[in-house]
Symmetry: C2
Subunit: 562 residues, 2 copies
């Protein structure tokens, strides 16, 4: 048994359980989401913090990528201090050449050998979770707990999911066959072999808000199907993905694999990198998270060059509130979704459609008028923002100064301000860049205002004539702008069904009546698909079959008389 087959054996239960969860869509988490020393080792929290503090102001020297032609870094914590870390810079040519070399023996392994090695690499790399949480917090602005979960256990579970999805797909076909065709009284036989070949080196283009969570699925789907992968970091958010790449490289190295199976590409102001990387000969697949404009440009380029391109661009996520069991429960949930990481999530709700006659509350038997609805939504947001224990960690800080400017621009549109944005105190970080939600009133006669992605803590309440009108606006918006989440509150079974059908028809994932500790922004690995590949928001879905099957070919060899 090869060393990699042994690793598959070692992780057989994990792979089996993850595969079963992925297929049956029940709850499963291989890495617990609680940032606790009881789970990850008593020393782990302190060690992670120390490592983070020791890294500040120094070159990041943990990558196994030699001969950098420059060192560069420009990260600043949204909590108000420069990180002062520099990273090694390599040219696209060097990165792709090394990836191609690393890829050759890797693609010769069997899919299960690759799966075994990848789960082992993830297990080893998970030792960095606490440092990764600090690195994520101080580049993205996420609160610490969210940073731990999003870049650590949740992202690693998404990576595991991609590995088992890719393994399952690759095992669809036998790897060899004797093909014997009857020809009247005789037969003819060919010996056949089926070889899995990756389309080429993968380039994964990371974003600034979820630098690990959005990148690992594409990277691991590519690795699992025989490709080497290059993680191109956002220039201002390098540290988290650099940590993960370094940990994976070290794990690969320990297993006797070429560490260049995964590499970090660091852009500089002089070498923006993406275009040059994607255009380098040998690149076969691209994963992209980012703006629609650049994403569309990339899709065109890839189509012209025979490169398979998976994108998550931006969408505009709508909510419709028609009737509820308890308005407080609904608004508490909605307020949390709007506040979580200050809405810097591609799944955050933006446009809340409410019938002008108000919202029916079953528990009280009342119809709550639009003005009261707005007042109570504002109260719910204020309650969370003002909660000294919950607020700062939930809202976090604002990743990009452009988001602060966007809030100012939204405020200046003239739309009635229902709740103004302001700072929130981050107790440990007096210089943090923060902003609480700006709530505006929208008007269906001026869709252009709110039918664009206002990324960040900007949301709209938009009166509509009726449930049907609201649904029509919602569906129209999904068709025009794409969406990564939708949410409908209704206690009426008929309306529920018509909303589900209309949203599915438009290609958006419908959710209903969220209250309590599940939020529309979240997508649970193994159970929720992230993205539908059916709206303008992009063609990537974590992780359906299409997300893995486009990355490789199964090529048949035929031999007569062999």
């Amino acid at each position: 048994m090869s060393a990699f087959a042994e690793l598959f054996d070692k992780h057989r239960d994990t792979i089996h359980q993850a595969t079963e969860a992925w297929r049956t869509r029940v709850f499963y988490a291989h890495w617990p989401e609680v940032p606790s020393g009881k789970i990850y080792g008593e020393e782990a929290p302190a060690t992670g913090k120390t490592r983070f503090e020791q890294q500040l102001g120094k070159p990041f020297d943990r990558l196994l990528q030699q001969d950098a032609h420059a060192w560069h870094g420009e990260e600043e914590s949204p909590y108000g201090f420069p990180l002062g870390i520099t990273y090694p810079v390599h040219s696209p040519d060097v990165l792709v050449a090394r990836a191609k070399r690393a890829q050759r023996p890797w693609m010769a392994l069997s899919p299960s050998e690759r799966a075994g090695a990848l789960v082992e690499a993830l297990e080893q790399a998970s030792a960095i979770f606490f440092e990764l949480a600090h690195a994520t917090q101080h580049t993205t602005g996420q609160g610490f707990v969210m940073a731990f979960q999003a870049s650590g256990p949740h992202a690693f579970d998404r990576a595991l999911e991609a590995v088992v999805a890719a393994l399952w797909a690759q095992q669809a076909f036998a790897f060899q066959a004797e093909w014997t065709k009857p020809l009247g009284k005789t037969t003819v036989t060919l010996s056949k072999r089926y070889t899995i070949r990756p389309k080429g080196v993968n380039v994964t283009i990371g974003c600034s808000t979820f630098p690990v969570w959005n990148s690992l699925p594409g990277m691991f789907a590519s690795l699992a199907t025989g490709a080497a992968t290059i993680a191109k970091a956002h220039p201002r958010v390098v540290y988290p993905i650099a940590l993960v790449v370094a940990a994976l490289q070290q794990a690969f190295d320990r297993m006797g694999l070429d560490p260049h199976l995964v590499q970090l590409a660091v852009p500089t102001p002089y070498e923006p990198m993406t275009q040059a990387l994607v255009g380098t000969d040998g690149v076969g697949t691209v994963d992209y998270t980012g703006s629609t404009a650049f994403g569309e440009q990339l899709e065109r380029f890839c189509a012209e060059h025979g490169i398979v391109c998976y994108t998550e661009k931006s969408g505009v996520n709508p909510v419709l509130v028609e009737s509820v069991e308890s308005l407080d429960a609904a608004l508490e949930n909605l307020a949390f979704s709007i506040c979580l990481y200050s809405s810097q999530m591609c799944t955050a709700p933006q446009n809340i459609f409410v019938p002008a006659r108000g919202v029916i509350e079953q528990s009280s038997g009342r119809t709550i008028g639009l003005d009261e609805f707005i007042a109570r939504l504002v109260q719910a947001i204020d309650a969370l923002v003002g909660n000294e224990k919950m607020g700062p960690g939930t809202l976090g800080a604002i990743q990009s100064p452009a988001t602060v400017e966007r809030i100012a621009r939204a405020r200046a549109t003239g739309a009635p301000i229902l709740r103004d944005s302001g700072p929130i105190v981050q107790p440990e970080y007096p210089n943090a860049r923060t902003a609480t939600p700006l709530l505006l009133q929208g008007d269906v006669r001026n869709r252009a205002l709110y039918e664009q992605e206002w990324f960040g803590p900007i949301a709209f309440v938009i009166p509509v004539a009726s449930f049907e009108h609201g649904l029509e606006e919602m569906v129209g918006s999904v068709r025009r702008n794409g969406a990564l989440s939708t949410l409908v509150y209704t206690t009426d079974a008929t309306l529920h069904q018509s909303a589900e059908e209309a949203l599915l028809e438009a290609g958006a994932p419908p959710s209903f009546n969220f209250t309590g500790p599940t939020w529309i922004n979240q997508s649970a690995t193994f159970s929720d698909f992230h993205g539908t590949a059916a709206t303008r928001a992009g063609n990537a879905t974590f992780t359906d079959l299409a997300f893995v099957t486009g990355r490789y070919s199964v090529i048949g060899t035929r031999c007569s008389g062999c």
Copy 2:
């Protein structure tokens, strides 16, 4: 049990056997390939012939597509007479609107219900095989037996393959789940449902040489995943696909399904149709077989409009002959491949690389010099061409006058003519447009001459310095031009392995040492993938997972408290 669930039950064994064959890649054929009344009913051959003769000169009135705004036809048999058949013409708007309406209830069925209905439709439609053979012969120019096999059993097996591949993929995930997440001492539960939604209406753009075989995989992969499909015929080759569409429409109608699930789009000189069809709102996937230039234009358009596009464009298929057990056996096989349907196949060999020192023959212990190799290849072609029993049926007629002109252009290039092209008598058809293979000598210093697709009976023998040089040329050509088949003759295990590795690396499907009744042009359903999606020849593969998984989304619905 629904009527469609009963159909699944009725065809359960067929679906099971086809799925197993598709996964294990062993020989399987649901429809026997022999055009015999013993298999298909004693009356079937004569009935088919009569139906064909009765159709000539008349409007084709068997489609269930009402309200044509025009009738049009311009087909002429390559065997030398006009067909005189007209077909109903509908505008893209009408076709797509009807497809969308038919699609709505169809996508609400379960994947297994759809599979049951589709196998039933294929079984019913298979009653047309003999008329279809005549229709195919007298539009494409194929010999009768080939026409029967290619449009009948082989094409229908490819359709069945697409159905089972799509079913298998769609059954990857549960259709519902209770998701319960532990939260310390409590839990939270969401009810989830997963719905399969086609990307949109499918448009399948057919070609003039394999109007059914190349079209059914995309059409049935689309139907099986919930889409309605529109078969856009080549203007000069409508009859075969019109017959299939009509038979399927009638079968759907008998099952109580909307017959517009499958429709025929007939282009006219005033409405070329493809661009307009693909650009109509509601179209989600396109399947294309045809020229590289138009295919690339289509790929760009689709990328810009979020349409999934599967293409089979053209390639240049190389052969390398280094050493053989018996030269006669190899040349007989190669000559047949070159003559079959006068090389009007995307898988036909074009460029034959031979080491200048000649070819080693193991049985005689001789090295056969280049001149003798060429002389014996020409002899082998002449023997088949001159075989009155075998020749006419094997070569058939030339579909397009452009191919005849291409032969003249090739002859005029100045490349040494090793064997000239000439007519071949088709006993029943004195006016047939025919051409035997033109064999030219190529020169690696002038790659531009032979590194383009010379579609039709045009092949090159190209001397190379050595096996290694020949392999390098072959692999280079695959990278530069794409390929749908490659063939290497070598008795040396080391050379065999190096060729296989190099060709796989380039993305081409390697074949070795073909002799006897298996030819490089053929691809066996359930066992051979047609296309690799890994070269410039296109991104469609009949039928791997990627060919079906891009056609639909699995969209999750989440509900709290449902």
